[in-house]
């Protein structure tokens, strides 16, 4: 049986797709057969972040409608042969996704994969609801920013009431926090919410802090999940996230401001 992970946030632009791509790659690189599914029907982007946009033939909706088999639609990643991508449809609308259809696809994947990562669209509409409905674990991606924290709290409410586990009175969905685009120097100077501030409100199990990093954009420009950039802080932070999720105990990094004396003095940008 596969473990189903939803990467969710409510708010857009906080790093859901970046996170989905990174953790799916991280899990696969550690030897776990992993599928990552784009639930953003109509606005697919995961294929771009994973660098497989030119290899998309069939998509999630084709599989649900029986127009293609799962094997035809799944794209094997070019960097890791244990990682597969199921792209969203670019031409259909979100009503093409159905609860039963999604359930059937996840069920079929479950037999063959160890982890299924569901990349949720922003918002709280149908696509986001279907992405989280079957989840066992939820990675709540949050920016240290007021509207993102509020939306994350809203998503926690939905996970606790609308997921399959909630409806069936099963053990609740396990919720984890990923604090992304974190800038320790701005936290230190009091112009950005810090980890403790966010945790005072959300109090979730922290999987990791992803520092604001230029390498995220560089990675998406190239269509390479940022976790493959082992030199970058963001890449290392995602590597830690995957390790912690799999049960390793690693100290949290990238919380402290480590700007040098001269950059501090002259207000240099990190």
């Amino acid at each position: 049986m596969a473990r189903i992970i939803v990467v969710t946030s409510g708010k857009g632009g906080v790093g859901k797709t970046t996170t989905s791509a990174a953790i799916a790659m991280g899990l696969a690189k550690r030897g776990h057969k992993t599928a990552v599914i784009d639930f953003d029907v109509g606005l697919r982007n995961l294929d771009l972040i994973m660098g497989c946009e030119r290899r998309v033939v069939y998509d999630f909706i084709n599989v649900i409608n029986g127009e293609a088999s799962l094997n035809q639609a799944l794209i094997r990643d070019k960097n890791c042969n244990l990682l597969y991508i199921l792209p969203a449809s670019q031409t259909r609308d979100k009503d093409a996704l159905t609860l039963e259809g999604v359930g059937k696809v996840l069920d079929e994947l479950s037999g063959d994969f160890q982890y299924i990562v569901c990349d949720s669209p922003a918002g709280i509409e149908k696509g986001a609801y279907l992405a989280l409905y079957y989840a066992d674990d939820a990675f709540v991606v949050t920016n240290p920013e007021i509207s993102s924290v509020r939306d994350s709290d809203r998503m926690l409410g939905i996970l606790a009431s609308k997921s399959r586990r909630a409806e069936n009175n099963e053990e609740p969905v396990k919720e984890f926090l990923l604090l992304t685009r974190y800038d320790p120097s701005r936290v230190k100077s009091g112009e950005m919410l810090g980890l403790d501030d966010v945790q005072d409100i959300l109090s979730l199990h922290l999987l990791g802090i992803i520092p604001e990093s230029k390498s995220v954009l560089t990675a998406s420009n190239a269509g390479m999940p940022v976790i493959l950039d082992e030199k970058s802080e963001a890449g290392q932070a995602y590597e830690d996230v995957v390790a912690r999720y799999l049960g390793e105990d690693r100290p949290h990094r990238f919380i402290e401001d480590k700007k040098g004396f001269f950059r501090k003095l002259f207000g240099g940008k990190s």
């Binding site: 920013e145 007021i146 924290v149 509020r150 709290d153 809203r154 409410g157 009431s161 120097s185 936290v187 100077s189 009091g190 112009e191 950005m192 919410l193 810090g194 501030d197 005072d200 409100i201 501090k264 003095l265 002259f266 207000g267």
Partner: protein, 93 residues
């Protein structure tokens, strides 16, 4: 923060303002998400019936309150018993 910033007058930190606003907002939204449990009216009615077996109380002698904060739920039950002497008088007369 650059060198020049050290000479500026200190203002309240914007992150602190953000946190305060968030705490108020989130508390409100959580309360709205978790309304009173639906069994409360029924509970109140049945409690009244049981109590009336033993003491003659009014309809509004019982109040049931439900409160919720971060990690606990409190069910507060308040029963106003009739004045004992008055009760005696009515029985005696």
């Amino acid at each position: 923060m650059s060198l020049l910033d050290y000479f500026r007058i200190s203002k309240p930190k914007s992150a602190d303002i953000a946190k305060e606003r968030l705490q108020i907002l989130v508390a409100h939204e959580r309360a709205a998400r978790n309304p009173r449990p639906s069994y409360l009216p029924q509970l109140q009615k049945e409690l009244l019936e049981v109590i009336r077996k033993y003491v003659n109380v009014d309809q509004d002698a019982i109040s049931v309150n439900f409160e919720q904060d971060d990690n606990q739920e409190t069910l507060e039950l308040n029963i106003v018993l009739p004045d004992y002497q008055q009760e005696n008088k009515t029985i005696n007369s």
